[in-house]
């Protein structure tokens, strides 16, 4: 269990570092192609951060509103409250606020920037369909997302993906409208090599948003594995979460309140998409079978 946790952490760090390196390569080409210099990067970073800041500070409210969640009172859901309070004690963080979605499809998510303001949201379906041990497994998974600052991490990754998207967009535009820089300056000696570089730049501009999305999703999947492992550490009972995952994924009911924008938040992808290697690359969640296998190995 301990090795799984440290391996997961290491892999997320590696992905982030790779992402940064990727941005640097892109910036270099950007500079070469458009001649904007570092100004382009500064602008891209500022715009991407501005957009992410809005999402960062209001994401929990937006998500709760989109999902049509309502605050759960202790009188109405004593069972949920007891489980959440117990696991908050186990994790050593303040008790998150609880929300429920009135939907029979079983699912759950956590939101909030830091443990002090975090929320845990579950559907009424999950409360009915899971037993106590399974619900504890699910809540422990969400608690781990909160404790690991996963919302903060995913915001960081979204900012980086945003920078890449902006840079490549501007790069493409400069190809279309400016026809590349240095045209007027006529440095003929650089001709062939420059042409190759411009081609590579063009390819990068087209492909990089795609690559950025793939890295972003890979980070998201790593964090799911990490939350599974940490959650199992909290309950000391991986089989509970494994059985909950099995039950949730076997349930065919779709969650009406979920959409593409919020799907990555849930413990199990609520959109029930089809399997396949391409789908896997573009999935926010690792396949359920792999998560269950990892839990059973603990």
């Amino acid at each position: 269990m301990y090795e799984q946790i440290s391996r997961n952490k290491w892999k997320s760090v590696a992905l982030i570092v790779f992402f940064m390196a990727f941005i640097f390569v892109l910036v270099w080409f950007f500079e070469y192609v458009t001649g904007w210099g570092k100004g382009g990067l500064v602008l891209a970073v500022a715009v991407a951060m501005g957009m992410a800041a809005v999402g960062y500070y209001s994401s929990d409210k937006i998500v709760l509103t989109i999902s049509r969640a309502r605050p759960a009172t202790k009188d109405e859901f004593p069972y949920l409250y007891n489980v959440v309070e117990g696991l908050a004690i186990a994790a050593g963080i303040p008790t998150p606020k609880c929300y429920v979605i009135d939907d029979t499809a079983p699912n759950a998510f956590a939101a909030g920037r830091k443990p002090e303001t975090a929320v845990i949201c579950v559907t009424t379906g999950i409360l009915e369909k899971l037993n106590r041990v399974e619900l504890e497994g699910v809540i422990a998974h969400e608690m781990s997302h909160i404790k690991n600052y996963d919302v903060r991490l995913s915001t960081l990754v979204v900012v980086m993906a945003g920078i890449v998207a902006l840079l490549s967009d501007w790069m493409l535009r400069s190809f279309l409208w400016g026809g590349g820089r240095r045209r007027g300056r006529g440095r003929s000696g650089e001709g062939a090599a420059g042409g190759v570089l411009i081609l590579v730049g063009l390819a990068l501009a087209v492909l990089s948003p795609l690559i950025a999305t793939i890295i972003q999703l890979a980070v998201s999947r790593k964090r799911e594995f990490l939350a599974d492992a940490n959650g199992a550490m909290l309950t000391r009972y991986p089989a509970g979460l494994a059985s909950a995952l099995r039950k949730i994924s076997a349930d065919t009911e779709p969650l009406e309140a979920a959409n593409k924008a919020t799907a990555h938040l849930y413990i199990v992808n609520p959109l029930k998409n089809i399997k396949g290697s391409v789908n896997r690359l573009f999935s926010t969640h690792p396949p359920i079978e792999e998560r269950i296998a990892a839990l059973e190995k603990m």
């Binding site: 004593p78 007891n82 489980v83 309070e85 117990g86 004690i89 186990a90 050593g92």
Partner: protein, 184 residues
């Protein structure tokens, strides 16, 4: 002159490291204390729930006075326990007594349908798992604290300032592993 400055820099760096290690030992010790009082908070909550539960069950099952007596006594013993060991033992007796109380409740369908009883049952189950989680958190914290005292180089600081390893919370083996007897 250059050598002197270098020496001062090295001494300064070592002093900073020592301060950092000392502070982390202190904060871990405080976290242990906090973890311990967290267990107490949950236990207290559990003791507070029991009289209510006994009263509710009494309303439906007047003739089971033996069970009520055992629960009340076990609770009193648990509240009065002084040492960690005593407390653990008293707690196990109390858990056994509560199990027989709930077994008794099984025979009274009206009681089982009582909203108040169901609420108390849920509260008690929730509080029991909170006690367990609080103990787990305490043990995790103690492990970190003890480990920090044993690993080099913070072990030097721990020895110098007399940090003592904490005891883990352990449930008596024979009680914890044996099945709980239910008597009627």
């Amino acid at each position: 002159m250059g050598a002197l400055i270098l020496l001062l820099v090295i001494i300064g760096a070592i002093a900073l490291m020592a301060i950092g290690m000392y502070n982390s030992l202190i904060s871990l010790r405080n976290r242990c204390d906090n973890g311990w009082s967290q267990i107490d908070v949950q236990l207290r909550r559990r003791y507070d729930l029991i009289p209510n539960l006994v009263e509710t069950v009494k309303g439906y099952a007047k003739h089971e006075s033996g069970v009520f007596e055992r629960v009340t006594q076990a609770r009193a013993a648990a509240v009065g326990a002084q040492t960690v060991k005593e407390q653990g033992q008293a707690d196990n007796v109390l858990t056994g007594a509560l199990k027989s109380l709930f077994a008794v409740a099984e025979n009274y369908p009206e009681l089982k349908a009582n909203q108040n009883f169901l609420m108390l049952q849920e509260e008690l189950a929730g509080t029991e798992s909170k006690v367990a989680y609080a103990r787990q958190f305490y043990n995790d914290t103690v492990m970190k604290y003890n480990m920090r005292q044993q690993v080099f180089p913070s072990s030097i600081i721990a020895n110098m300032f007399g940090f003592k390893p904490r005891e883990y919370f352990q449930i008596e083996e024979e009680v914890a592993k044996g099945p709980v007897k239910v008597q009627f």
